[in-house]
Amino acid sequence: MRLTGEADLGRLRRRLRTLLPNASPFVLTRILTVASELGRNVLVHGGGGRCDILPPAPDLRLFRLRFADEGPGIVDIERALGDGYSTNGGLGLGLGGARRLSETFHIDSAPGRGTRIRVALPC
């Protein structure tokens, strides 16, 4: 699904809710939160991009999402994942927080090469 504006984040969350009708509130909230954080990053820092729901890992009960943008990329990934890092004066906890909530978190980003993040969350 394309993420170009704020309304798309709402759309993404609605889609996730319909895909997980039997999830416990804890699981659902965690997934919605990670999706919101990473989706918002795509909008704010990546200049728009996409979110794809990947096929679930067989027998591992993991819900997988991929976020991608062709934005400027992240200069210092480790610092971005640490607390308090922000380029626009915000809390800057989005990325690190999302990682803490995820079972696995793979980020591939460099200046000029955009950003791709794949996460897996228990479901």
């Binding site: 704020e6 309304a7 984040l9 709402g10 659902l28 909230t29 809390l91 989005g94 690190g96 927080g97």
Partner: protein
Amino acid sequence: MARVPILRIGDCLVVTVHADLDDGSAVTLRDDLAGRVAAISARGVLIDVSALDVVDSFVARMLGDVARTVSILDAETVISGLSPAVAMTLVEMGVTIPHTRTALDAQNGLRLLGIVMAPVRESVRCD
């Protein structure tokens, strides 16, 4: 998204946030609240978020901004209705909402602000 309605109870303001709070509405809410707090010299604001099943770092920041703005206007903010899932997710992320007190639900939230809802008296039958 429609403007979030702000209710007044005595010298406090009550806001019920529903569905997805987006960028625009969050900023509007903050500004609206600041305006109303100043206008009536409110001493407290209750923000009920029990309808939210997600509170990400952006929303948390917005709530914190509201609280900070309101505290500069010498009023306090109580946030009520954070669900177990939302509370746990915020804590796991390490996100806090400063300048606020929290309550389990709106009723407790009002009590924290010093507003106690009196039970409705039963009408007396006259025969």
